[in-house]
């Protein structure tokens, strides 16, 4: 399955006039981008953990690769993750339709930008980042 198909679902959910749909749309936007970037990393032989730690691991790779454009994407996936936490867990807060729409736009923007990243440079940057944690037993974070 193409991870970006989650974005189509996120967009469809925006059509419905209910907060539950908007919250779910935010979750789909995040997971579209998380799984898309995870697949891209795996293609470059940069495996991402399947556990909950994989979220932070992916963000760390993006932030650690020393390519400005990718570092921004790393921050943005962190933003989307936080927004998903609010959407999924903080039911006492109001989530607006426009917020969900913004998250969809933000995720879509990443899928448009990442293909232009030079992949060998990205892999070199992440490998270098991982090497700095070689002596550590934990995942770089």
């Amino acid at each position: 399955m193409d991870a970006k198909d989650f974005l189509k679902i996120a967009k469809k959910l925006l059509r419905y006039n209910s907060e539950a749909n908007w919250r779910t749309s935010i979750g789909r936007s995040y997971y579209a981008i998380f799984n898309y970037l995870k697949q891209e990393c795996q293609t470059l032989n940069l495996p991402i953990l399947g556990s909950s730690k994989g979220h932070n691991q992916l963000k760390s790779y993006l932030l650690g690769c020393e390519i400005d454009e990718v570092i921004d994407i790393g921050s943005k996936i962190g933003d989307l993750y936080s927004q998903r936490i609010i959407a999924d867990y903080r039911l006492e807060e109001v989530v607006e339709e426009k917020t969900a729409k913004l998250m969809f736009e933000k995720a879509q923007d990443i899928t448009k930008r990442f293909p232009f990243i030079d992949k060998p440079s990205f892999k070199t940057g992440v490998d270098k980042y991982i090497a700095t944690f070689k002596s550590s037993t934990s995942i770089p974070s």
């Binding site: 933003d79 936080s82 736009e105």
Partner: protein, 171 residues
């Protein structure tokens, strides 16, 4: 009227040509720290004393609105736990820079709240959440966000960016 404390801020042109002009601005600063930092947008940079950023440390003063570049923001506040987290992890400088850069770059910002964040899915992950309440079209906000991250690139150490995230409430 906003709650704040007055400080002297020197305006510098982007070329680095220091002017002699000084104005008293309402900013987020208090006087108990001596370090200076940069706050920039495309027009000018302000250098001044840095604040503790906690609302209750502000003195209430009447603002000269014509001299205040941040009037579009109605309310701003920082959770004391967030402040303490930044203090312990030596992130205060970045907190302040991001805080001010958000105000400069998000033109339709109504409210800015800074909260401590503990990941409910991974209790080892914690950080700071900048919560923006904003009235604008999503595409416009995204454009402003891209601009914001361009500015942040220059001023926030990469190793510190992982601690900060921005989230929205768009009306």
């Amino acid at each position: 009227m906003l709650k704040c404390e007055e400080i002297l801020a020197t305006i510098i042109r982007p070329t680095g040509d220091f002017t002699t002009e000084s104005r008293t601005y309402k900013l987020f600063f208090d006087s108990d720290r001596t370090r200076t930092s940069n706050y920039s947008d495309n027009r000018f940079r302000i250098i001044g004393k840095i604040s503790s950023l906690i609302d209750n440390s502000f003195k209430e003063t009447v603002i000269d609105e014509t001299a205040n570049p941040f009037l579009n923001v109605e309310t701003k506040s920082i959770d004391p736990i967030a402040y303490e987290f930044c203090k312990v992890n030596k992130l205060l400088a970045s907190l302040e820079i991001i805080y001010n850069q958000i105000i400069l770059d998000f033109k339709s910002l109504l409210n800015l709240q800074v909260d401590y964040f503990l990941d409910p899915d991974d209790s080892k992950q914690e950080g700071i959440m900048f919560r923006l309440r904003i009235k604008d079209k999503p595409k416009k906000i995204l454009k402003q966000e891209n601009n914001f991250y361009l500015h942040i690139r220059k001023s926030i150490p990469i190793g510190e960016r992982k601690y900060f995230s921005i989230v929205y409430s768009v009306i």
